[in-house]
Symmetry: C2
Amino acid sequence: MMSDFKEWMKVHQARVQSVAERLLPSEDLVPTALHQAMRYAVIGGGKRVRPLLVYAASEITDGCKDVVDLVALAVECVHSYSLIHDDLPCMDNDTLRHGKPTVHIKFGEATAMLAGDALQPEAILLLLRTGLPAEQCMELVRLLAEASSTTGMCGGQAIDLSVVGQAISYEDLQRMHAMKTGALLKASVLMGAMSGQSEFISSDLLKNLKEYGEAIGLAFQIVDDILDVTEDTATLGKTAGKDEKNDKPTYVSLFGLDRSRQLVVEQHNRALDALCSLGLLQGKSKHLADIADYIIKRSY
Amino acid sequence: MMSDFKEWMKVHQARVQSVAERLLPSEDLVPTALHQAMRYAVIGGGKRVRPLLVYAASEITDGCKDVVDLVALAVECVHSYSLIHDDLPCMDNDTLRHGKPTVHIKFGEATAMLAGDALQPEAILLLLRTGLPAEQCMELVRLLAEASSTTGMCGGQAIDLSVVGQAISYEDLQRMHAMKTGALLKASVLMGAMSGQSEFISSDLLKNLKEYGEAIGLAFQIVDDILDVTEDTATLGKTAGKDEKNDKPTYVSLFGLDRSRQLVVEQHNRALDALCSLGLLQGKSKHLADIADYIIKRSY
């Protein structure tokens, strides 16, 4: 069963790659440096967790693959923009991402900033190309914009900036991560479901998928904090140990490794419970459960 | 007549201000620094040319004022984000904007970048709050996203980066500015018209408004280039003479002052011709003509 999932994952990771190659502005088009930087960031690599969530959730509502491709790439564009800006000298000042030089190292800071800026409208335009009914399309736009806004990713980043070197409560840490990483992961799940046939989209489905999305979002971040301590730079493909170096509060700094690992298990169970309510632990729609397993077991 | 327009302009500039104060995330909300920076950038000042274009064009299609407010603010949010990022050290490295310290001087580079980033989804969310029919709302989102994309503002900025210190043809200069400044000005006009009653939105109207928008976009940029040479920093509220200092090709460097002034007159006539075809040179819908006059006569 798990090897079926590995195959599914490989197929869909490759699919994101080829969709990105096909749909992002060509490198030959002026402004070439901008388009090169955008493509370098998105096509470059990564685990594609967010697009995988989009594809997996779209299977529940029988999404058409060509439509879901656009949604999956839109989410990945927003994720990539956030990484480009996060790596800039005025933020984390990082030189390595997915085992390669970061965008500003390769293209310069100005082009890196613009590439991040341009990926935001690019994502919206991809959603508008789905050809879904206008109401459904607007809901996709809303989910993505909210996940990127001050109540989502940008807000979480800003809180992250403000707590460096400070004591932080468990509630505040959880809230920060729910915004910074969790919001876009949750949106990926909901957007996947929302790219399918409207007759399969019920409020009960969305409620449980929200619960699943929140749980895996937290699990994802706790695992990230653990890996930052336990793995080396070569394995991660990005600089290891930088949370401690930057004096950032993390689950590990707050609770230690053992309690952090226990928290991962708790969130994993919460995610599976939500899927269980929907009867999604078995059958053709069990890829969300597989992704939850993958997130907690990953080593980079 | 002109004094009527001055009054109209004052009323609507104040309106943008109060709409922004009311609708942007409150400074008391966490993350407070992010929200403060966003508000500082948008509420801070400026001529409000883009919101004025939205309001003026919406009068043609009888837009409801409460709806148009959201559209006007959305456009201003995107404009403000572009200024914040443009002023950053990795771009123009400017310390003065609207006669005040730039956002990164006041809030630091990281918060400035995030404030710009967050204003993009904020703008989209404002458009989604209009309550307009889904098709119309999607068209607003499309116009704004296209104007901000690599075929619009971001693309123009990237070309601008690539031509510093280089010889550039008239066509390339015009194309760069059509993307960098023109795209959002044109979108403001079209979005204003698109926020009104659908029965008044015809393809002939949109065609002529596009023509008008392109013409004033070019005129605006040529005037900007002229002012950069002829006015001082105190009058402009931003650093004067910086095009020459940064070795940027401009209309003035390419054609000299006299020919540049003549080009402004040509574009002004083109804009008025487009309005004339629509019968918009007189009556209650003549504010677009007034704005064209204002753009070519402004001194900052």
